[in-house]
Symmetry: C2
Subunit: 148 residues, 2 copies
């Protein structure tokens, strides 16, 4: 098993503000993909689409306000199905620290390398959204390669 790990700090923002951006369709549409629908509460399902290439359905496994969010991938690329995505939040001085863990990849395939880099750009998009009100969600996301 292999994991993608990241850490960013959102300056001048509360854990509550970051939590809002991780649990509401409007918040998620502001940094990951504009085509986000569903229910971000525990037991809900979120649907993220990236036209024309597909997307992800996430079962929301856990939400602890301002502290933690866990998703399990219900549908999407074969390598993603059954993996889990954890978000852990804490305040540290003027920052909200975001620890990100996309766990349970069966193999460290090339697509996992791509997703690792792409997740970093989306975490910086999340940081920007909460700090400035403006993220870079798909379809206006940062291109990193021939795989977009």
């Amino acid at each position: 098993m292999a994991d993608i790990l990241h850490r960013v700090g959102v300056h001048g923002a509360s854990p509550e503000a970051v939590y809002e951006a991780l649990t509401t369709p409007t918040g998620l549409a502001g940094w990951w993909t504009e085509d986000t629908t569903g229910d971000g509460g525990t037991g809900g399902q979120l649907r993220f689409r990236f036209p024309p290439v597909g997307g992800f359905d996430m079962d929301v496994v856990e939400t602890r306000p301002a502290e933690r969010v866990t998703w399990r991938v219900a549908d999407g690329p074969a390598e993603w199905i059954g993996t889990t995505i954890d978000w852990t939040l804490r305040r540290d001085g003027d920052y909200t620290i975001v620890l990100f863990e996309h766990r349970g990849w069966a193999e460290p395939v090339e697509f996992m390398h791509h997703c690792s880099t792409k997740w970093a750009t989306f975490l910086l998009s999340l940081k920007s959204l909460v700090e400035t009100g403006r993220g870079a969600p798909a379809p206006g996301d940062v291109p990193i390669s021939d795989w977009h």
Copy 2:
């Protein structure tokens, strides 16, 4: 053991051009840190400094022109010492694909999460340097958190 994995594609550039940016102090200073000295050939050592916080000494273990570069960390933060960094290059259409692997972390500590995200920003800096002639090396690198 845990690994940091990334993938970017450098558009309109040859593997030779990316290799140059990975094996010469001038190239490395253009995307990672301006304070880069040493010898990037096999058997050489590269010294990367990030004033005032320290830096890394890398033993160059392998260089295969336009294909592969491997460094072993000789000095730096305790968590980095003994880890290895592999760069694999290949042409794919209009892109040079860069696979990056920072292998052999003893534990997936929070500092590893940070380094994973920070590596992504430096890979995008490398991409930008080779595509446009302008990267974002330290001290002008992209801030991601309270840890810079």
